[in-house]
């Protein structure tokens, strides 16, 4: 029986790969969990595309500045050492390769590292991209954090993305609730799998052809 990782366990696994001293931008949704589980031994400077470095956690209810929000439009705080700057400067950090690592959600990732995370239905919903393309193209390291398959059970890791791309060839590593995979010139290489999962089972839930590292790790839970 397949036991996918809980979101918090997945967040912990991602957090373990973010080095102390990193400048990081966490995408909206699932990736924001990562900040909550980074240990106190690491000092990580969080960037927000609306002009913040050194972003801290949400303020206590009823306190805080209503205009001090993150990219997801949620209230946040500023840590000592933080700074404010304007939008063009904020995106200069992203586009100029100054953000060490970003963690993004995804609809689809291809074995070439193509990322699709901004739109699925071009016809009936107005498209909206925000800073997704800037971040995917500009960050030094692009980590994707996602469920391994869609709610309907369809694979998200594909030979090619069928949804419109956010950026081509940018994803470095994918963290799903079933596995950790590197994107390499030879396609996806599985580094770790959820406890109890077999290679055959994982391949069965993945449209792209998988390779497996010689020493396969087990994704930690609980």
């Amino acid at each position: 029986m397949i036991a996918p990782l809980a979101a918090v366990d997945l967040a912990r696994r991602v957090a373990a790969d973010i080095p102390d001293g990193s400048y990081a931008n966490l995408g909206i949704g699932l990736p924001t969990l990562v900040a909550d589980v980074v240990g106190p031994d690491k000092e990580i400077v969080y960037h927000s595309e609306n002009g913040i470095l050194g972003m801290g956690p949400a303020p206590a209810p009823g306190t805080g500045d209503p205009e001090l929000i993150n990219a997801g439009k949620q209230p946040v705080t500023l840590l000592p050492g933080g700074a404010f700057f304007h939008h063009t400067d904020a995106f200069m950090m992203m586009r100029g390769g100054h953000i060490d690592v970003t963690v993004l959600g995804a609809f689809q990732v291809s074995e070439r590292g193509d990322l699709a995370n901004w739109i699925t239905d071009v016809a009936t919903m107005p498209p909206a991209v925000g800073g997704a393309m800037d971040l995917a193209v500009g960050a030094q390291r692009v980590l994707v954090m996602t469920t391994h398959v869609t709610r309907e059970g369809r694979p998200k890791l594909l030979p090619r993305c069928s949804f419109p791309l956010t950026a081509a060839g940018v994803v470095d590593r994918v963290y799903t609730d079933l596995a950790v995979l590197d994107v390499t010139p030879e396609g996806f290489v599985v580094l770790e799998m959820a406890p109890g999962l077999t290679a055959v089972e994982l391949q069965g839930l993945t449209a792209a052809r998988l390779s497996f590292a010689d020493e396969l790790g087990v994704l930690p839970t609980g």
């Binding site: 609306n50 209503p66 700057f85 081509a168």
Partner: protein, 222 residues
């Protein structure tokens, strides 16, 4: 004698013509020049092209402009958000044109207008729907899209404090697009929470020098 202060919101938006391109600051509800937008609503200009990150929410500011059929076209990165009902309704009815631009490119295009550049190449958007019809060139080993400057006839900006020369400082993440939009428009109109005497703003900490500002009106914080 330079005195860019005007007495009323009506004075601040006087003379904005039909078919003007209006840059409107703000990211979500942070840094939106709400009162200036409502003054523009009262003022009557129509067939506007509005450049702003989001398409408004609920019934106020940009959403109200759209609801009143005053916006022919919107140029933005993220028109779809909780409460952007008026934009979505008109978009579905084909009554408003949408130019979707990655957020960093949106900001950089306005900066290019302010800096007198003829355009620039950026990797953001290459190999995506948003580069369709645009020149693509390989530079520095990457596929890059040519993007044109995006000037405004008018910018509506919210800042925190101003002096009579129009020097501005902002507050926290409300700074966002304001400083860039101020450089990119022929007429820059600013609402601030308070006026200060000339010389009171720290010359090391002025964010928008008055050279970019034409009119300033004080609007007390609600």
């Amino acid at each position: 004698m330079i005195d860019k202060r005007v007495a009323t919101l009506a004075d601040a938006v006087a003379g904005i013509g039909d078919e003007a391109t209006v840059l409107i600051g703000g990211f979500g509800d942070s840094g939106v020049p709400v009162e200036l937008v409502h003054a523009l609503l009262d003022q009557g200009a129509r067939d506007l092209t509005v450049v702003t990150n989001n398409a408004g929410s609920g019934e106020r500011d940009v959403a109200a402009l759209i609801r009143e059929r005053r916006v022919r076209k919107i140029v933005c990165s993220y028109p779809r958000s909780a409460g952007s009902i008026w934009f979505e309704e008109l978009w579905r009815a084909g009554e408003i044109e949408l130019e979707l631009v990655p957020q960093g490119t949106l900001s950089e295009r306005m900066r290019a207008a302010g800096a007198g550049l003829g355009g620039f190449f950026t990797p953001t958007g290459a190999d995506t729907l948003l580069a369709e019809g645009k020149e693509v060139r390989v530079l520095g080993g990457r596929r890059q899209v040519f993007e044109e400057p995006l000037p405004g006839d008018v910018a509506l900006v919210k800042a925190h404090r101003a002096d009579r020369w129009g020097n501005l400082v902002y507050r926290t993440a409300a700074r966002n697009f304001g400083p860039t939009m101020a450089t990119a428009a022929a007429l820059t109109v600013v609402q601030v929470e308070e006026f200060v005497e000339l010389g009171e703003l720290d010359p090391e900490a002025v964010v928008t020098p008055g050279i970019y500002v034409d009119r300033v009106v004080a609007v007390r914080a609600p």
